[in-house]
Amino acid sequence: MKLQHPFIQLPLRFDASVLAAEISRVDESAWKPHPQGFAGNSALPLISVNGDTENDGTVGPMRPTPVLAMFPYLQQVLASFGTVLGRSRLMRLSGNAEVTLHVDQGYYWAERMRVHVPIVTTPGVRFYCGDAMVNMAAGECWIFDTWRMHRVLNDAEHSRVHLVVDTVGGEGLWDLIARGRPSQIASQGWPLRVIDYTTDGAPSRGNLEYETFNAPKVMSPWELRAHLGFLFGESVPHANLGAVQQAAIVLLRSWQSLWAAFGDADTARPRYRAALDRFIEPVRGLAAAIHLRNGLALLDALRSMVIFAALASEQAVPSLLANTPSPVQK
């Protein structure tokens, strides 16, 4: 999600050594290589689609994987965010490796914040985002602007492990952000809350709220308009922009008419698909020449945030059938 600042530290501090000890109990086989095969990057799923460790997608109810139960303190850490928990993992970057420069583009990340808690790290790990760079210390808690270009360099010999949580937000988290510290502001005298592991009180698992709806069967016309509007707002002025926007208006009108007539009924899917095709075919070439302020190509962003997301894929539909709230009256 686009933020006002590249990095914001949240006023929480955790005991990284306790977290590190907890996660060290898990077998190496639980770690998965990066889906796109980036060297030195691996992940351990904590919250994933239906709690399935083999599914690192972003469509479907997010639930704890079996391994989360092994980490009581980590669950307390998650609870302390006060937020609706989306996909969450331990992310490991080997020594002398990097997460190459990229933007988290995609429907899922357009409206989600990414929370980082370094568990195992060294001062040599550098996190770049936009013009800023931070070294996140173990036990600290940060969010960063995933819409800006960012990369991570681990110059040390040892791996770096972070808890990484994607979330749309929640009361607790917004309050933490309001009391957060942008990285460019000195931390002198800035108040932090320390969250140590505790065995008192109710089991923390009961306090965790998980994401259930993160992908529509058919996007509502208002959502479609929101994403298109956002992308056009982010576009660097270009001669082609007018034509692409005009085509988008036609798409939105068709979408609104279809929605009024059919809602997200399965029978209407071919019509929605046709409307998307009518939109993208003529503007493909035009959009490819337009860039967003963060460096992304408009065409790529349109594809990932609009074309692929406006209509759930046929394979995904059965799993969404039971989940997606339907607007059609009973």
């Binding site: 929640g170 259930t212 993160n214 068709s254 609104q256 929605w259 009024a260 989940n323």
Partner: protein, 636 residues
């Protein structure tokens, strides 16, 4: 829908005579009278195709009337639109109809198509800056966002076909080839559409099926709020209000992601919406939009009423009460039907009379249920009962406000909030409610109607003590009730809003407070005096302080409440206390109180009389002659 031009003519010319002839065959009984004198309507496309449905929620389908009107169906088919609600509207001669936010939610996303069928040169549509006459058979898109009136200055009735639609491929094409009124376009002309006999246009019609979500998506919510805020005129309250709107959207999004439109999560949406409603009530009233409408009414209709499908759960026109009943209300009615408020008890008094102390004490009775706190939101949360419904006239409510629908809904809201002294919910059908909210001193007749056999406890505290405490309460600004009160200046209005408050603008605080006490006590005494004596109980605050055990035992006995506690000689300090109880602390303000005493003297005497009369009748063991002497001595 807001359009770029108030009127856009589409390039179609329908055969008005054929339409008029067809419409003339309709039985007169099918025309129903609509809002406004001299206006009647015939439903053509309505929720579920049922002409008796009110509102705009539900799949829109042909009514039986439309199925018999071939020429009208042909017109509809030619529009190439997804058809929402459609009707024939008839105005008699010499009638003007001013548009109002009938259902701003439905209209904000829909275009209104108008085809005059029977009309005359003196039928005008007025949209503020332009007034036009629409010729018979022409076809127009009309901007419903601008304030409008339709005027039939002639002597004969006129009839228009009106259709609401989000759009459609055919319609968008017609609009693209349309002509805004007042714009001359060389060579622009309409295409005649000749009626075709015995063609089945009914099958070509595409109807709206989705128009009222049970839970609005966060993106729709955001879109409506963004639109409304873009339409407002500048105002100092906007920054805070838009912040509140932003918070609403974020919370809504989080809830949507967590639970979508599931039943279990609906209460959380409601809470989030209530928080926004509170901010809206405080900040929005003075804000207007460019089209002249008040922001608050648009927010109410387009956001608050629609966000949780109030529209979608509209079931039917309730035959008995002739009000629109929502499914929510029906559900409440069922639960309330089984919960009976037996002689509910309302503590009434001016503010700062010790009612919280009495309330907290009585709440300890074993059979008593309370809503835990004052009932501001329970009562004012019903739009018809909030001061904004009366132009901020006051908090006063009388029996006429207690319509069946309101009364049912209010009892339901109380029923849903009840807990006993241990925080438990009612486990049986009969409950003894105890409630206290100083504003209810202005609502005795109203409460009597909503809660038959209601019992009222008039808690009387020495007026000099009350005035002093109200004075300090205003100064502390801890008891502000309407921080944004249009027309009020100075310290934010505190405590109940009394009738005639506008006369107090600019007056010294002691006079405001004295008037507040005076008006409240007058209204209260009159209302209590009109009740059967057995429903009225009095208690002197001084007795509650000096002999609490006896006072409460007596009170419970007369209310028929069990009492199983023993009270210490000094009660614990109540919440809302400003300073430690001390019967002489009012003297700090004695000069100020003395200055206003003449204005309230008469009322003091009446109140004293009332209390003594009731005490003699009901609480012989508590009569304190000493106290009586103290009152009549006045501030020295």
């Amino acid at each position: 829908m807001k359009l770029q031009h108030p009127f856009i003519q589409l390039p179609l010319q329908f055969d008005a005579r054929a339409l008029a002839a067809e419409i003339a065959t309709i039985d007169a009984t099918q025309w129903k009278s609509a809002t406004g004198a001299g206006v009647s309507e015939l439903a053509l496309i309505n929720p579920h195709g049922d002409a008796s449905f009110a509102g705009n929620a539900g799949p829109m389908r042909s009514t039986q009337s439309l199925r018999n009107l071939e020429v009208v169906q042909q017109v509809l088919a030619h529009l190439g639109a997804v058809l929402g609600r459609a009707r024939l509207t008839r105005w008699s001669g010499q009638t003007t109809v001013n548009t109002h936010d009938a259902d701003a939610y439905y209209e904000v996303d829909r275009m209104r198509i108008v085809v005059p069928i029977v009309t005359a040169a003196d039928v005008h549509v007025d949209s503020g800056d332009s007034q036009i006459t629409l010729a018979a058979g022409t076809c127009w898109i009309v901007d419903t966002w601008r304030m409008r009136s339709e005027q039939n200055a002639g002597s004969d009735a006129c009839i228009h076909l009106i259709v609401d639609s989000v759009g459609g491929p055919g319609l968008w094409d017609l609009i693209a080839r349309g002509r805004p009124h007042g714009v001359s376009m060389q060579g622009w002309k309409t295409e005649p559409v000749m009626p075709v006999a015995h063609a089945d246009f009914g099958h070509q019609l595409v109807f709206e099926s989705v128009n009222a979500p049970s839970v609005m998506t966060p993106w729709e919510l955001r879109a409506h709020l963004a639109f409304l805020f873009a339409e407002t005129l500048p105002h100092a309250n906007l920054a805070l209000l838009s912040q509140a709107a932003g918070a609403l959207v974020s919370r809504w999004h989080a809830l949507w992601t967590a639970g979508g439109a599931s039943e279990q999560i609906r209460p959380r949406y409601r809470d989030v919406l209530e928080a926004f409603i509170n901010q809206m009530r405080m900040l929005a009233p003075p804000i207007r939009m460019r089209n002249g409408r008040a922001l608050i009414s648009a927010l109410q209709s387009i956001v608050v009423d629609a966000a949780l499908g109030a529209a979608s759960s509209i079931v039917k026109l309730d035959e008995q009460t002739a009000t629109i009943v929502s499914a929510d209300h029906l559900a409440l009615r069922e639960s309330v039907a089984s919960l009976h408020f037996e002689r509910p008890v309302f503590i009434v008094s001016p503010p700062r009379s010790g009612s919280t102390l009495l309330f907290e004490t009585l709440s300890q009775a074993p059979d008593v249920f309370t809503i835990g706190d004052e009932s501001h939101e329970l009562i004012e949360g019903i739009a018809a009962l909030h001061p904004t419904a009366f132009g901020f006239e006051s908090n006063q409510l009388d029996a006429t406000h207690a319509t069946d629908a309101v009364a049912t809904r209010l009892r339901g809201r109380f029923a849903n909030a009840l807990v006993d002294r241990e925080g438990k919910l009612p486990s049986c059908n009969h409950v003894r409610l105890v409630e206290k909210t100083p504003k209810n001193s202005l609502r005795v007749a109203f409460l009597q109607r909503v809660f038959p056999h209601a019992q009222f406890i008039y808690l009387y505290r020495a007026p000099q003590e009350v005035l002093a405490s109200m004075f300090e309460g205003w100064q502390s600004q801890r008891f502000t009730s309407y921080p944004v009160l249009p027309g009020w200046s100075g310290r934010s209005w505190s405590f109940l809003l009394v009738p005639g408050w506008r006369d107090l603008v600019g007056k010294p605080l002691i006079e405001i407070v004295a008037a507040q006490w005076n008006v409240t006590t007058q209204i209260l005494l009159r209302a209590l005096g009109a009740l059967p004596a057995e429903n009225v109980h009095v208690l002197r605050y001084a007795d509650l302080l000096t002999a609490p055990d006896a006072a409460i035992k007596n009170l419970c006995a007369s209310l028929g409440l069990r009492w199983d506690r023993v009270l210490e000689s000094q009660l614990p300090i109540a919440r809302h206390t400003l300073s430690k109880p001390d019967s002489e602390k009012w003297r700090v303000h004695s000069a100020a109180i003395q200055s206003v005493w003449p204005a309230i003297e008469q009322t003091v005497a009446e109140a004293e009389c009332f209390v003594s009369a009731h005490q003699t009748a009901m609480q012989p063991s508590i009569t304190t002659v000493r106290e009586g002497r103290q009152q009549s001595r006045v501030a020295q």
